[in-house]
Symmetry: C2
Subunit: 257 residues, 2 copies
DNA sequence: CTTTTATTCCGTTAAATATACGGAATAGTA
DNA sequence: TACTATTCCGTATATTTAACGGAATAAAAG
């Protein structure tokens, strides 16, 4: 939730949709590591993905973007809806109750307030270069930080499940559509994009076959420049052919590694 | 909506989630035809998919099942969530307003009642054998009937979009997981399952290669019986190997035709 | 200036998979 | 008995995927 979300929904409940919210699984890639952005509400010992409420004036996609912007400062991220989660017990955890809420917000709320009903969560995931992100912690968050995807802290509610479903969806997506535009610099080397795919898929990919297939799609083009990487042979630089890339996003680009 | 849903949500609004509902795209297959179950609210000229509100005591999956049961009389259908839809204009159509609502339900409702806020719709699709379905029309429905997938009537709101997304998801699903268990009799012939796949995918499939691949997955087994089909060679009967079939549902069964 | 180290960069071959396609067998009907 | 509509199989070819080793290069170390 952004800075004033908790306050805002209590003060202006009529401006928000009830019983439905957005949860963003923000994946961050940098230097061969895949991480996920989590936050820890004040006075609680478990972590959550970043999520928030939906205004009546915005679509669920706009809500996801607004909420992600409030945490990362980034706009126009690549977003993908992957699933909705909804059952009466998903947010029962001992932590979502009026007492904790009052402790957090300082606002006295009745025990049977509608915010303690169960919420259907619409899950989105997004991919960013995490060195570009300036994390903005919400006022009710004790912490907000990146966690390695294979070494997560204790998570609240069903958020571990949400993350694993998001990762599954991301890995499925990567097999059918191109990725990388938001994650690599404008010019990048083959080893760089190769590591990116290996990291996200969590498995090694033969470098020669990888390059062959990637080139075959036409989404990247080789430049006549190399990059200095110190005491090693200088790799060639490449860039995305944005048209082919977008076409791949539309119609699929078989990269089923 | 089932018989009393509209009444019920007005009388007992506290028992339902607000601003979020379930829409079921019910596909029906029979005799080489793929259809979708639509209903037409009384006094309106457009059609809708079958949908309904979610009780606070049930999960979204349970809601989808309950709502489908109220229309088809069938339980334990194969259900698949495919997407959520949510934006402020999705249900603006001239038809969702207090006047029409009163006309339908006979209950006077204020113009600014929360049910006229926008609802996030969680979309599920399901597949049934439509000769097995005994359609049960709701009291506020003028009609409820099957429509051929490629010849739909005028649809309300964004329901045409919802159906096309459901069909896209179904065709994607069929490429990765087995289908047919809910659609064919216990014993079926190769030509029968072959037509099923052709109909759903909307394109011809080579019969020899189809049979080869299907057998290779192990999800069907040949029986030592044939079926009488009149003046033609009697085709052999097959049945699903339920274990292999379920395993295919879990882990995928590459049938990418 | 020669050697060493770590990395990039290709190309070929074998195996697996997918595609294309024709003709014999069968159950009834005429 | 022959005719019709349908089931049922198998093989050859093309395409795709997977596996793999060795030469070239940039800098640092000796």
């Amino acid at each position: 939730m952004k800075q004033s979300d908790i306050d805002d929904i209590l003060i202006n409940p009529d401006q928000y949709l009830r019983n439905v919210l957005v949860d963003n699984v923000i994946f961050g890639y940098h230097n061969k590591e895949l991480k996920v952005l989590l936050q820890q509400p004040i006075a609680l010992d478990k972590w959550t993905v970043t999520g928030g409420y939906i205004k009546k004036t915005e679509s669920i996609e706009e809500a996801a973007n607004r909420i992600a912007y409030s945490r990362t400062g980034l706009k126009n991220l690549f977003f993908q809806q992957f699933r909705a989660f909804g059952n009466p017990t998903r947010s029962i955890d001992g932590s979502k109750n009026a007492k904790n809420f009052t402790k957090l917000s300082g606002i006295e709320v009745p025990d049977d307030l509608w915010i303690f009903d169960y919420f259907v969560s619409v899950g989105f995931y997004t991919l960013t270069e995490f060195s570009m992100v300036k994390i903005e912690k919400g006022v009710y968050e004790a912490e907000c930080q990146w966690w390695p995807i294979d070494d997560l802290p204790a998570l609240m509610f069903d958020h571990e499940h949400i993350i694993s479903e998001a990762l599954k969806a991301l890995r499925l997506h990567i097999a059918h559509y191109p990725i990388g535009y938001e994650l690599l610099s404008e010019k990048f080397t083959l080893p760089e994009i190769h590591s990116l795919y290996e990291t996200i898929l969590g498995k090694p990919l033969d470098d020669r076959n990888f390059a062959k297939r990637l080139m075959a799609t036409g989404i990247i083009v080789k430049l006549n420049e190399t990059k200095r990487i110190g005491a090693h042979r200088s790799p060639f630089l490449y860039r995305f052919d944005k048209e082919k890339y977008n076409e791949g996003l539309e119609n699929g680009a078989a990269l089923a590694f």
